[in-house]
Every structure is written in C-alpha cells, then in structure tokens.
Amino acid sequence: MDDNKDNANPTILTASELPTRQIKKKKTLASDADAKFADAVSRRPLFLSDPFCDVSWSDGTESEDDFVEEPIDEQEIYDLISNITDPEHPISLGQLAVVNLPDVEITPPPSTPCDPNALRRVLVKVTPTITHCSLATVLGLGVRVRLEQALPPNYRVDVVIKEGSHSQDDQVNKQLADKERVAAALENDTLKGVLDKMLETCI
C-alpha cells in the first residue's frame, strides 16, 4: 500500500481551520470514562424506571440521560469521524476533506426530542480524495465502524460515497450498507488491522 499511493499529493487543510467543538465538548462524548462515572454518581439512576431495564445494552457506552439533555448534533458526529486517519496518509479525514460537516445529516434532527428506542438515522457522505480511489470502501468502513462504536444503539449509520466523487459509488454504497459484510470484514485480520490503525487517532 505504501509504495503505490493512489493519491500522493492530496490537498490538505490545516487542522485549526476545521470546524470543531471537540475541546469544550469532549467530556460529554461516549468514550470518556470519567464523564460517565461522574454522571453515575451525580444523577438519579434513570435506568430504574426505564421500561427496557431488562435489555442488555451492548457495553453501556453512555447513560441514556446524556441524550435527553444534550442531543448529539451534526458537529458532534463530525468530531467523531474527522480525526480518523487516512489509510494512505498520516493525515486525518477532516484535513483531507473526505468528511465534511455539511455532509453529515441526522434524521429526525437533533432538536426533535424522541424516546431512546426511536431510531435516528445518521447519513454521512464521504468524498474520497480521487475518483478511482480503491480505498473508498475502507474509508467508508472506517467511518461506519467508528460511529457504530461511539453512538448509542438507536442510531442507524448510513455511509455513502458523495454523488459524482467516485466511479463506482453504487457498488461501494451497497457494500457499506450490508451489515453482514461489515460484520465479516471486522473478522478479517488484515482489514481489521487497517481499520484499527485508522481509528487509533480518534479520541
């Protein structure tokens, strides 16, 4: 992969130019164990009255009341994925403009309150750096995996290639939408190695 890069000289944005709320928001993000712990001691344990308290939540990445009070918005989704490292360059997907804030869409919108079991769809359109980039699938997979790991289970993540940016969008989109293929890909050691490396830089 290293000796034959598809895109040796991509346009790079400066990290400081990228839209972010990371600095002030990161304490509320799912992966922050301290924040989770603090929540647990300071708040009423809402799960006791939850009608689904007998349902096992994958690995309890966050407590439900986080979302009631502070809904996840597009910026937060963007912050979750913009730090993913490109598999070919030591640069983030945000800097490469592979992921862009306007290409993140949440339905129903974060401002609409909804019950924790109701689905929210997150649609992310990724723009591979060049049209025939053979790594488009891997890029998309990285974004999907990152969001599925970080978001609560009622979020459905759809990752598609932005129209016109890639010569085989339909094929790539279909692959990225296929749960069974994604699951199998994560059991493929080589691919898993690449993905782990991409996601290493995520907070």
């Binding site: 096992s56 994958s58 924790p116 079991n117 689905l119 296929d178 069974e180 199998a184």
Partner: protein
C-alpha cells in the same frame, strides 16, 4: 409497551393479532446473535452467535447445551437435520470462516429411556420440568465433520426435507449442494453433488421447498423431467433463483425472480399450500419490502403429448435433451406485503399452522401479517385488521389467495433500540403456557443485535 397496546386496543373479540413480549431465554448472550432455528420436532431452539451455537430448551427457556470450538469466525446460520430418531440430534453450522460444521449429540443411555422424549412428555403433561434437565446439559456435542469448499463466508445452510441434501451458500457467489452418502446415520460421509455459480453476488440464503401434498404428482414420475427436490437461493445481486435436478442428475436454474431493488436477504417457501398448488415463495429484501411469488402453472389439459399428469414444469414432451436447460419456469411476483418496515428486512417467517407471516429487520419492528385461508377464519376480521393500514397499502379486498396478506400488528422497538436479525415461529412448551396448549400454541422468537433471544406470545 406491548401490554399497554394490548389494553388499549385488544378489547374486542375480533381484534387483530397482538404481540406480547415474554421473558427472554436465559442466559442472554450479550453480543450480536444472528438467528434461532427451532428443532423440527423437539422442544429445542438453536441460536447462532459469535463463534458458537447455543441450544435453548423451549420448556425451561434456558440453555440446554452449547456447540463451541468448531469455528474460527462467527457462526451465521444453523440447520437441524430432519428425520432423526428422538435420541439423536444433528446440526449443521455455517460460519464466516468459510466452512460448515456437522455436529452430533447422542444420548448414550438409550436403555434407560430418552432424555429428550422425557423432556417432551414432561412438558406436555405439565409436570415440573426441572428434574430431567441437568443430565441433558452434561452431555456434549461432537464436532463430527467439517465441510470445506467455499472460498469465503458461508451465509446460510439448509437441509432438504428428507435430510439427504444439504445446501450451503457463500459470499463467493456460489451455492453448493452436498449429499449424505454415508451407509447409515452415524457414517458421516458427504459428497458435493453440485456447485451452482450463476448468481452475480453474495448468496445470502438458501431454502429447500418442503414436501407438500401435490409434490408426488408434480415431480413427473420417477423418470420425470426434474426430481422433486426444489432449492431457492437469494442474493446480493437482488435476484432469487430456483434450482432443480434434471433427469440427467444435473442441477439447473429453472427460474430467475427479478423485482427486488436491493439485496434479497432471505426467502421461505409456503409451508402449507392449498390443495395441490405448487408452494409460493416469500422473499424479503434490503428494499424494505416482502414479496410473494407464484409459479404460473399451465392448464392441465394435455397440450403436450404424453404429458405426465398435471405438471408445472412447462411440459417437456418431445423436446430434446439438449434444449432442456433453456426451459424456464414462469414465476411471477403476485403480491407485495403491506409496508411495515423503514429499513432492511432481515428476516421473515411463515407459519405452517396459522399461515401468518412475521417479519423483522434493521428498524427493530416486528410485523405480523395474516392471509385468510380459503375457509374463512371466524376469529379474525380482515376488515378490522386492515383499518390499521395506511391508504397506500395494497390490501386484500376479499380475502382471495392472490391478494397481499393484510398487516395485523406491528411492534416497534422489539429489542429496544437494537436491530433484529431473525424471527421464527415455534411451538410453546414453557410453564407459562396452559398444559393442554403445550406443543400446540404458536409463539414467535426474535433474535437481536443485543444478544437477546425473545419469545413473543401471539394472541
């Protein structure tokens, strides 16, 4: 929430079908589980999850045994070998490691009676069913055979009704048919009899047509055009294909069913067709729809010379052998089920007893549809059920067999916020069911990304 619904709308005797969540099987599996397949006759259900399979007892709703250590990647699909004596179990597991494993479980103390039989008797007699359980759990599954051949993940495995054939399918775009050539049941020798390569994408599921009342006359006799076994496969290429064995022992594709606009996730044959009509096929897809397909049978009147009995295969009298491959069956999509899903439909199940269909998928919705049998079913009112539907739904106007079955009930968030990967019908044997109804009353079992395997009372 299910109970609230029942209270609110379940008042009338004629009301539509209602789903009520029952306590999940124990222990919960805590990680994605793909599917749960009930044993054809015994009160057992096998759940594929991670690299193993857990068998639950339908009597105790707890784990009966676990099949682990045979696969290096996730087990995606399982199938019970049919027609075995009650003290033997045989299960095939299809895995992402590209192999299928054949497992056997045998009761060694045959002389003193069969645990499994005891289990059934105890359950149906309403006795306490805790006493016989422990010895069953002590026994172990033997990993008897590995079926190797596929190049990539196996997605589905299925036994033919007699158990003589096993079909497997894979991301490698192929369907393999294996034949049990062992001299007796314990002799595990399987041969590959066909590798079917016509799909243009992953083959997601395979299903054998069940035996049905018309199947003898339809097979065209012992030297008829095709043998009576019929296999269907669903694919990532958005199509379904139907396969039969011709007179030369070649498995050929006799029909390509085109219509879905996304991956076809699965399919099931009609379990109990009316009269001698050929079973219809139910398919479900990433396009969020479920469709019913019907074989366009020709009139029986012998326009073909020497046509063997009424048959459905296009009449081959006088047509040379070499042209047979080009002869196709004519299958048409005759109904699309009312829209209930907003994302991929991952699974559906068609009950042999009630002819009801249940479906589920990525949206976590469990939907139940009913088709009025030809003889009117007095306890359900189709019109009332149809009231729940939106105006754009195709619904049966007069309960005719060809119309789409109306939607009876929908349960949102069947597994909380999680995706549901599988739904199946099976019989109740648990203590919560009246003793005289055990082994008779139907329930649904759903399997989800949360690792929960949940039974549902259907009333």
């Amino acid at each position: 929430m299910a109970s609230a619904d029942t209270e609110a709308t379940g008042a009338g005797a004629n009301s539509a079908v209602k789903l009520t969540a029952l306590t999940p099987f124990k222990p919960e599996l805590y990680d994605r589980a793909w599917q749960s397949i009930p044993h054809p006759t015994l009160p057992l259900i096998a759940t594929a999850h991670e690299k193993s399979t857990t068998v639950f007892s339908l009597s105790t709703l707890t784990s009966h045994s676990t099949l682990s250590g045979g696969h290096t990647r996730s087990v995606r699909s399982v199938a019970w070998k049919p027609n075995l004596s009650p003290h033997k179990l045989c299960l095939v597991s299809g895995s992402f490691d590209s192999t299928a494993g054949l497992w056997r479980w045998e009761d060694e103390k045959k002389s003193t009676g069969d645990d499994l039989e005891v289990e059934i008797t105890a359950a149906s007699a309403g006795n306490d069913d805790s006493s016989d359980k422990d010895c069953a759990a002590e026994k172990d599954w033997e990993f008897a055979l590995v079926l190797e051949g596929h190049d990539s993940e196996i997605k589905s495995v299925s036994f033919s009704p007699s158990g003589a054939y096993l079909a497997t399918c894979s991301r490698d775009k192929s369907v393999w048919i294996w034949e049990d050539v062992g001299v007796n049941e314990d002799d595990d020798e399987w041969e590959t009899v066909a590798v079917l390569n016509e799909h243009d994408g992953d083959v997601k599921a395979v299903a054998w047509c069940p035996d049905f009342s018309g199947s003898d006359s339809r097979s065209g006799g012992p030297r008829g055009r095709y043998s009576s076994d019929v296999l269907a496969s669903a694919s990532y290429d958005d199509t379904v294909r139907i396969w039969r064995e011709d007179g030369d022992g070649e498995w050929v594709c006799v029909a390509v069913l085109e219509g879905h606009t996304g991956t076809v996730w699965g399919l099931q044959w009609e379990p109990k067709p009316e009269g001698t009509r050929f079973p219809r096929l139910l398919t479900w897809s990433a396009d969020q729809t479920l469709r019913l397909w019907t074989l366009q049978e020709e009139d029986d009147d012998g326009e073909e010379e020497n046509a063997p009995a009424p048959h459905a295969w296009g009449g081959l009298g006088g047509i040379p052998n070499t042209m047979r491959r080009s002869l196709k069956e004519d299958w048409e999509c005759t109904a699309t089920l009312p829209k209930a899903h907003t994302r991929d439909v991952y699974s559906a199940a068609w009950s042999a007893d009630s002819a009801r269909i249940a479906s589920t998928g990525s949206d976590g919705v469990i939907a139940v549809y009913g088709e009025e049998p030809a003889a009117a079913n007095s306890e359900t009112s189709q019109d009332e059920a149809a009231v729940e539907l939106d105006g754009d739904v195709q619904m049966g106007n007069s309960g005719k067999a060809k119309s789409a079955p109306p939607l009876y009930d929908m349960e949102n968030s069947g597994h909380g916020p999680f995706e549901i990967n599988h739904v199946t019908w099976c019989k109740r044997y648990d203590m919560g069911c009246a003793p005289e109804r055990r082994g008779v009353e139907e329930m649904l079992v759903t399997t989800g990304d949360d690792g929960v395997v949940r039974p549902w009372q259907v009333s």
